[in-house]
């Protein structure tokens, strides 16, 4: 039988081992992400907000609580780009400083959500049996509690600090991630490549985190990006209700403080609202781009 394909001739070995690593998959990942223009736009918005949150306070060195002018000035009036709020504080500066808190709490809460959700979902889906039963009953217990109410109770029970707020949001919102991770694990654990990984002697820990997890990630990544958005909304809701640290400026707090002037000075709630909207939208677009980038089937050489 002619078998031209199975020649056992070695090609010239690469001169340098570095050559082998040149086409790192990360490059393909980045290339795929940037092919999605909406995702690039989302990333730009996100980077702008994070950049402003990080650097503006360093450069400006202002106090967002300082009353700088008359209350409820219109945007542009008195040299205030976005006007002033009910206590005469500069709205633009407040939003820039608020981005810090919003981003930090949103990110931390999403991190806690993912950590709890992934661990519980992965264990339940991978081990099945009684582990699954117990973990899913726990998950259902948390699912039937009204999340905002539970978060409010948690913040009220403990001190209203940013840490408490982030943890509370994490504790009430991990159930979706857990169920999603469990479903992915249940599907993936039966795949042949998991059997193949076992047959080369991989242990459970390796199979869960290195073999199955990367395959389970695409939907979870999208979910993570959305989770950041949801956590930001949550934080806004809590500070709107006055259940956050009153000594730090946040977007939710701005809306909450100014809600009585909604009809007289709509910009005082609109601008923080737009900030929240843009951030959540950016996270959603980023999630979309990440899905594309994570899917090796969309990559081309």
């Amino acid at each position: 039988m002619s078998d031209s394909e199975s020649t056992t001739q070695a090609g010239p070995p690469p001169a340098d081992m570095d050559e082998i690593f040149v086409e790192h998959p990360f490059r393909q990942f980045v290339a795929m992400y940037f092919r999605n223009y909406a995702a690039v736009a989302g990333l730009l918005v996100f980077v702008t907000i994070v950049g402003a949150a990080l650097f503006a306070p360093m450069i400006l060195d202002l106090d967002p609580f300082e009353m700088v002018d008359e209350p409820l000035l219109r945007p542009g009036e008195g040299g205030h780009l976005l006007g002033t709020d009910n206590l005469g504080r500069d709205l633009f500066i407040a939003i820039v400083y608020g981005a810090r808190v919003t981003m930090a709490v949103g990110g931390a809460a999403a991190g806690i959500t993912l950590f709890i959700g992934l661990t519980i979902g992965a264990m339940a889906g991978f081990y099945r049996g009684w582990v699954d039963e117990v973990l899913m009953r726990v998950t259902e217990f948390f699912q039937v509690l009204p999340p905002l109410l539970l978060a409010m109770v948690l913040v009220a029970l403990f001190s209203p600090t940013l840490e408490t707020v982030a943890i509370s949001i994490g504790v009430v919102s991990w159930t979706g991630v857990a169920r999603l991770a469990r479903a992915e694990f249940l599907r993936l654990r039966e795949q042949e490549f998991v059997k193949a990984a076992r047959s080369i002697g991989a242990r459970d820990r390796r199979i869960i985190w290195l073999v199955i997890m990367p395959n389970a990630l695409p939907p979870l990544i999208v979910n993570a990006a959305l989770t950041v958005g949801i956590a930001i909304l949550f934080e806004a809701a809590l500070s709107f209700l006055g259940l956050s640290d009153p000594n730090v400026m946040s977007w939710g707090k701005l809306i909450g403080d100014n809600r009585d002037y909604l009809l007289d000075a709509p910009w005082t709630v609109t601008f923080p609202g737009v900030a929240i909207f843009l951030t959540v939208l950016a996270m959603s677009l980023i999630g979309d781009g990440l899905t594309d980038a994570f899917n090796p089937k969309l990559r081309e050489r």
Partner: protein
Amino acid sequence: MAKTLLSVEGLAVEFDTRDGVARVIDDLSISLAEGETLGIVGESGCGKSMTALSIMGLVPIPPGRIAAGRIFLDDEDLLQASEARMREVRGNEISMIFQEPMTSLNPVYSIGNQIAETARLHEGLSRADAFQRALEMLVAVGIPAADKRIHEFPHQMSGGMRQRVMIAMALACQPRVLIADEPTTALDVTVQAQIFDLLNDLKDRTGTAIIMITHDMGAIAEMAQRVVVMYAGRVVEQADVDQILTDPRHPYTQGLIRCVPHLTQNPTKERPPLLEIPGVVPPLTQLGSGCPFAPRCQYADAQCRAEMPPTKAIDDGHTVACWLTEREAAA
């Protein structure tokens, strides 16, 4: 004969099902010598793959259960070995390749990464050394332009190429036993032949013994030195490949051989009707006391349906479990 490398003695595997206990493997005894290729043939559901999983220590427990038997690698009983020891054995001493090359590779890692993984896991090689090993393996299994394709992902390769990658993965640590579970079932015939050649070639070079699981008598003729025919979890016939092909004794073996279509010069006139074995493998929860093949056997009589035939040696290394042979020998 060469030294025995792997032997399975009186293995029985049971599964709890809704319909009761299914004994998927019953009193299975096989042995594999160094450098030998052992073929295990049978239809779907005969316990071939379960035999492989038992040897690998990968029978899902529960619902499965090893009810009896011992599996020796050299002098070590693998069924008594700890899970940590089994992880050392898997991939390092006994490897396995699977039926579906399309799904046996992890889609998120490059193939080089996956082959290197085995070497890193068992030999603690550095990343660069493991990649070098992966490259050597890809060359050995005949992947053209291996230094380029090492970075490719599974979806960029054809089925035959992926099966080669699987073989490279399985052989990366030079295991002493390779279990090939229907390695060519999902491939084109031409590619099948290439894979057989490759396996034979690698066996000659490395001395790895192969357990070849298949339902294809043609593959057996191509690859195996010894053949075990399984039916409903039992060994019904065992012999050298020549004996099986020229002098099959068990009606089931005869049926399997007749099922292989033959090429003839003038197909339209000379082609005889292709024979089949009527019926299917019975549900393993419903086996009676008789020969499990009796309901499908054209020679079956009352004794076949009532009593299990004993395994009888009729020739050097040729054993059969059938009342027909038993009576012939008595007469």
